[in-house]
């Protein structure tokens, strides 16, 4: 019982990170129908920025803020320079471009900061069961999710963004600057991705540090339904707890395979994800 509680609590805090990544993927997927495989690359550069800033100034929080800014800026640039030109091409083109960007960013990070792991600080005290850092992660992701909900449901910007995502051509006819909305979406998503990166990186940073977490982020997004913000958050926490149990009872090396099994099972039962109401596909 003791162990179970421990595992669940661990799962909640790692689930927060998966939820953040899933949210970020979901926003971009909704807006541009692209799964942003470059996400860990963008977040990686953001986290390395924080690393350098913190090392130079001694302030964790300055690094933290700059990481979010850099992450968002990179997302905006990626959308403008790389995604927009391939938007109208095949699904494959966009996937390949984002993968290329991932390789490029990871390679550049390795060239600049080397492949050696550097120690990377936690935001707050990280010792003990459900530490201050864990609480911070859960709270940060909770606030983010709530903020997104308010943004999309209740603000004109959110309404425009949704319109641009659902029916870009119609949105344009009613005066929505669709391209701008997509860029804003990528920016917001990349800020959230950078947040997830900052939470996921400690204790060490190296170029591949986010690969594993990203895989779980994708898993969470897929089981939650790439179209659904609640699904992304729920998917993140469910997956976090589930994988924590797998890791505790079956062994940490099997966690990734468990994620694969979960994805395959969920998608073969519900191709639109676990938490979306099944509906007729739009063609």
């Amino acid at each position: 019982m003791e162990q179970l509680a421990e595992l669940v609590l661990n799962g909640v805090s790692s689930g927060a990170v998966y939820a953040a990544l899933a949210l970020s993927l979901m926003i971009i997927y909704q807006a541009t129908r692209v799964v942003n495989f470059a996400q860990p690359g963008l977040a990686l550069i953001a986290a390395y920025t924080a690393f350098s800033v913190t090392r130079a100034t001694g302030s964790y929080w300055l690094g933290f803020v700059l990481a979010l800014v850099v992450g968002g800026a990179l997302g905006v640039l990626a959308e403008r320079l790389l995604i927009r030109p391939v938007q109208r091409r095949s699904e494959l083109s966009a996937i390949i471009v984002t993968l290329g960007l991932l390789m490029l960013l990871q390679g550049v990070a390795g060239m600049v900061w080397s492949n050696e792991p550097h120690s990377f600080p936690y935001p707050l005290d990280f010792r003990g069961r459900f530490s201050a850092t864990d609480a911070f992660a859960v709270a940060a992701v909770g606030v983010t999710a709530l903020g997104l909900l308010l943004l999309f449901r209740y603000t004109p910007l959110g309404l425009r963004m949704r319109a641009a995502a659902f029916r870009p051509e119609v949105a344009r006819m009613v005066g929505v600057r669709v391209g701008l909305m997509l860029t804003v979406g990528w920016g917001i998503a990349s800020v959230i991705g950078a947040l997830a990166g900052m939470l996921a990186v400690p204790p060490f940073i190296f170029p591949n540090v986010l690969d594993g977490v990203f895989v779980y982020g994708i898993t969470a997004a897929v089981i939650g339904g790439l179209d659904n913000p609640f699904g992304a958050v729920l998917g993140g926490f469910t997956l976090g707890i589930g994988l924590s149990l797998v890791s505790g009872y079956l062994g940490p090396e099997l966690v990734t395979l468990a994620a694969l099994v979960i994805v395959v099972v969920v998608l073969s039962l519900r191709p639109d994800g676990l938490f979306t109401r099944p509906r007729a596909r739009q063609v």
């Binding site: 004109p156 309404l159 425009r160 949704r162 319109a163 659902f166 029916r167 051509e169 119609v170 949105a171 344009r172 006819m173 009613v174 005066g175 929505v176 600057r177 669709v178």
Partner: protein, 244 residues
């Protein structure tokens, strides 16, 4: 509307060409739409009516030619800029966004306008104009019937307080009675607010009965044009292009 003599027409199209690849769906169309008029654009399936409207509103790029509204050049502007110049487009099928609620769809139509108070006022006017929409404002637009969707689409376009309204087959799939109501409504709008309407229709007889002028398209070109009564009376045009 008592227009001062040299006022430019609400909409002018000169030699417009608009193609899909090698298919010139609009092949050198010119037309003039006087302010405050209702102008019908008629023609068989595939004549190029939808393409004409889409090109005018900037939803599709023109190959060549010009489009002006109130004398202002709109030719190369994208759709989101065209609507800011007072030309609103209700696309074929209405283009209601089914995932949004009725109210969100309506709000969307006026969102680009800075005058917040007037946006709210316009919304209330739309609810008065289409009371069904008011009853269902919180429901997803996907739950509306075809006729209700057309009303929502028109309401959304009117939220922009346009000077020119481009309507693409608003009667598509509607019962004849509803169609008649809709056409009468257009007339009232024109009379009440001075709105200029360009009405694309399959139902030529109905359209010409409310329109002042008509253009008949065939294979992307203007095959006939003139006052609505004259087109209605002209047997040759009717038989050749309008099929009644």
């Amino acid at each position: 509307m008592s227009a001062p003599a040299p006022a430019p027409p609400a909409l002018e199209v000169h030699d417009l060409v608009s193609a899909y690849g090698a298919v010139r769906a609009v092949d050198g169309v010119s037309l003039t739409v006087p302010a405050g008029s209702i102008t019908a654009v008629l023609g068989a399936n595939g004549a190029g009516k939808t393409t004409l409207l889409r090109t005018v509103s900037g939803a599709k790029a023109a190959q060549s030619g010009r489009v002006l509204a109130d004398g202002v050049e709109l030719t190369r502007l994208p759709a989101d800029r065209v609507v800011r110049h007072g030309v609103a487009h209700v696309p074929e099928g209405g283009g209601v966004i089914t995932q949004l609620t009725v109210e969100e769809n309506l709000r969307l139509g006026g969102l680009w306008r800075a005058d917040r108070a007037d946006r709210v006022r316009a919304r209330e006017e739309m609810y008065q104009l289409f009371p069904v929409l008011a009853e269902r404002r919180r429901q997803p637009a996907g739950a509306l019937s075809g006729g209700e969707r057309q009303m929502l689409a028109i309401g959304r376009a009117l939220m922009a307080r346009p000077r020119v309204l481009l309507l693409d087959e608003p009667s598509l799939g509607l019962a004849p009675m509803v169609t008649r109501r809709l056409l009468r409504l257009l007339r009232e709008l024109r009379d009440g607010t001075g709105l200029t309407v360009v009405l694309v229709e399959q139902n030529a007889r109905g359209a010409l009965s409310v329109a002042d002028h008509g253009f008949v398209l065939s294979l992307g070109r203007v095959a006939a044009s003139g006052d609505a009564d004259r087109l209605l009376a002209d047997d040759r045009t009717r038989h050749a292009y309008l099929g009644f």
